[in-house]
């Protein structure tokens, strides 16, 4: 916002510039009397400065009604569609798929299959809009292991089995592996540089529309000692706010994969356990991170349960823990050759 372009008397604009107030943040953060003191303007002039600055700030996003959002007249605020997960059962659990704005978190124990689902989304995002994708690529930020390139190649070859609705000739035209950008972040500094500099470039050029961070917990848990929780919370909030801003400005879904912590003392738990009284694990990183996510999913291994729909391997359960538009339901799923597939069995009962 340029002060010079405001609709005010030039004398007033000069007074504001002389007081070294350049941005909306400087002006709106000061009280009326402070502004008067710094700019030597009268009370009514100060009020007109404030109104002009506030109007300039808000003219970027005018008022809309919920009806306009419902009818899809404001795609910037409400895209009206979601990113498909590739499997109809999982899509119906999420009421359409992964939300395009806001951070979606996928937590689970190691070996549950979180990276699998992340890879699957990197492929579904490349399909055209009519098949549930966003016709764009994905950026996959690895903080733990190296990128599972062999598994990705296997998933690409078997895409026809997973997404049968897309005709073969269209599918052949999509260069799946070319559109996935892999970043490695070995420490927090590298992670912060990655999401504040490199990812915005990819997003602004339209090369990617999905950001996957695998995993969020790894770096934040190892770089801070247990007594440095305040420091860790500050970094977490800064990281989450950058992701949040990117997601909203570019209408790009963000998937953050998280680890879990054991629930040590269920009875003495002063921290909120989100009503999951019988659970043994909770998503990591505590309340500071929990306040930043929009949709929280948990993937669990169901040991000792028989396999689902005739697929081999241990079945998994994908649970919705927290979402503004979804109830607490879950869905049984399995990790098969072509990806993660859910099933419509009666295992999907609401939890409360």
């Amino acid at each position: 916002m340029d002060i010079g372009h405001l609709e005010l008397n030039p004398r007033i604009i000069n007074a504001v510039k002389k007081a070294n107030l350049r941005s909306a943040r400087d002006i709106l953060s000061l009280s009326d009397s402070d502004l008067q003191r710094l700019t030597h303007l009268s009370a009514s002039n100060v009020r007109s400065v404030r109104s002009a600055v506030a109007l300039a700030c808000r003219s970027r996003s005018p008022a809309v009604t919920a009806l306009q959002l419902y009818r899809g007249e404001r795609p910037a605020l409400e895209p009206g569609h979601k990113l498909t997960t590739g499997c109809p059962a999982l899509d119906s659990l999420l009421r359409g798929g992964v939300s395009l704005t806001g951070i979606t978190e996928l937590a689970g124990e190691s070996g549950a299959g979180k990276t699998q689902l992340g890879l699957q989304l990197c492929l579904t995002v490349q399909y055209p809009r009519e098949y549930g994708g966003l016709s764009s690529g994905a950026v996959f930020i690895c903080t733990e292991d190296s990128f599972p390139i062999k598994r990705l190649r296997q998933l690409i070859t078997l895409q026809s089995r997973l997404k049968a609705d897309c005709p073969e000739d269209q599918r052949r035209r999509i260069p799946f592996s070319d559109n996935i950008y892999v970043e490695h972040a070995a420490d927090l500094g590298a992670l912060q540089t990655c999401i504040s500099q490199r990812v915005p470039i990819l997003l602004s050029q339209g090369l990617v529309r999905l950001v996957v961070v695998d995993s969020v917990a790894a770096l934040f848990r190892c770089e801070f000692r247990p007594e440095e929780t305040v420091e860790r919370a500050r970094h977490l909030l800064a990281f989450a706010s950058t992701l949040h801003r990117l997601s909203h400005s570019f209408c790009a879904p963000v998937l953050c994969i998280n680890q879990v912590t054991d629930v040590v003392d269920p009875s003495g738990l002063a921290v909120s356990n989100m009503g999951l009284a019988e659970t043994k694990v909770l998503p990591a990183l505590g309340m500071a991170w929990a306040n930043q996510v929009l949709v929280r999913l948990m993937l669990r291994r169901m040991e000792g349960h028989k396999s689902v729909d005739g697929w081999s391997g241990t079945p998994r359960k994908l649970e919705v823990l927290l979402a503004p538009h979804l109830p607490r339901t879950s869905c049984l799923c399995s990790i098969v050759e072509e990806g993660v597939r859910g099933s419509f069995t009666p295992g999907s009962t609401p939890l409360d």
């Binding site: 909306a24 809309v64 605020l77």
Partner: protein
């Protein structure tokens, strides 16, 4: 009880001269002319004109010569304002009929406990026609987190319309139902999205103008006020100052425009004495900002709502649920707050 001269907002030297000349009460000054007053009190003519303007101006505004409203008038005015029902009978009774109009209320809770659900419910319930016990007003929703999803509003609006159509008994109510449909509910809900605290400050500064242009608005929801103020701030004293300023502006709006203001707050962990507990975020001084404070929390698998601070009602805790009525096992169709039994 007459208003004394010493309570008038005029310069102290003038006040001293008036009182020493024998003018104790405002009623003594009412019928004088400026020339008379300046001679009697020994003040200049301009000062006399100002004093008389002050005295007469108040009377012309319809305020009693005593100045201000009496407590009875205030009480009647408050009774007439009404409150917004939440459709959860226990919560409504704890709040004394619903969320009060003309006051600011704060809803705190951990993520996932239902703050956004309650806010969306209120934004729909404020629009219920008068003959069904609602306020028939419009709602403004200021979203800072991006958690306002139209799908949920549609669910709740459909549930509210269905609920009212089941309740409709006489012709007046059936007539009112024609104006209470999904489309009208959605068109009377205004959404503002703010991405950082500067935009939020600008929005709240411009809100009185918006309210003046839309006099049917009866509810302003800010979801959440904590989110933009919890990062980007190194200077916590500046944050406290800005939040206090915001709280003042919101209370002023609530009383001047007869609206209910609802703010959502997050929870943070407070570590002390080797234990940790959850407290509302934004610091101690923010606790004084809202008139009422409702804290939503978990106890085992049950969600509970506690009225933590209120000038007119005792502290109480009630259980509640967020229900979903399932018509088709694979899709979610409607939801609302629903009272469940205490056990």
């Amino acid at each position: 009880m007459q208003r004394t001269v010493s309570s008038l907002p005029i310069a102290p030297p003038v006040k001293v001269k008036l009182i020493s000349s024998g003018f104790q009460y405002v009623a003594d000054l009412c019928d004088l002319r400026p020339l008379q007053l300046s001679k009697e009190a020994g003040i200049s003519q301009q000062e006399a004109v100002d004093v008389l303007q002050e005295v007469r101006g108040k009377r012309d505004q319809g305020v009693a010569p005593g100045g201000g409203l009496t407590a009875l008038e205030l009480f009647e005015k408050e009774q007439g304002l009404g409150s917004i029902v939440t459709f959860c009978s226990a919560l409504d009774s704890v709040l004394g009929g619903g969320l009060p109009v003309g006051k600011t209320s704060e809803v705190c809770g951990a993520p996932g406990v239902g703050k956004t659900q309650l806010c969306i419910q209120l934004a729909v319930d404020v629009q219920i026609p008068l003959c069904f016990g609602g306020l028939g007003g419009h709602a403004v929703y200021i979203d800072t987190e991006g958690s306002f999803l139209v799908q949920r509003v549609v669910d709740m609006a459909e549930a509210a319309v269905k609920h009212c159509s089941l309740l409709a008994e006489d012709t007046e109510q059936r007539e009112a139902l024609k104006g209470f449909t999904l489309e009208t509910i959605l068109s009377n809900l205004f959404l503002f999205r703010c991405h950082d605290y500067v935009e939020l400050l600008a929005e709240i500064y411009l809100l009185p103008d918006f309210l003046a242009q839309h006099p049917e608005v009866r509810l302003v929801v800010i979801d959440s006020i904590a989110f933009p103020f919890r990062h980007d701030f190194e200077d916590l004293s500046q944050r406290t100052r800005l939040l206090n300023g915001l709280a003042q502006q919101l209370i002023q709006m609530a009383t001047q425009h007869n609206i209910a203001v609802v703010l959502t707050n997050q929870m943070t962990t407070k570590v002390g004495n080797g234990q940790s507990k959850l407290v509302p975020a934004l610091g101690e001084s923010w606790g004084h900002a809202a008139t009422q404070r409702l804290i939503l929390h978990w106890e085992g698998q049950q969600r509970l709502a506690s009225l933590y601070k209120s000038p007119s009602h005792p502290e109480a805790t009630v259980p509640y649920q967020i229900t979903v009525s399932i018509c088709n096992p694979l899709t979610v169709t409607s939801g609302s707050f629903h009272h469940s039994s205490i056990h």
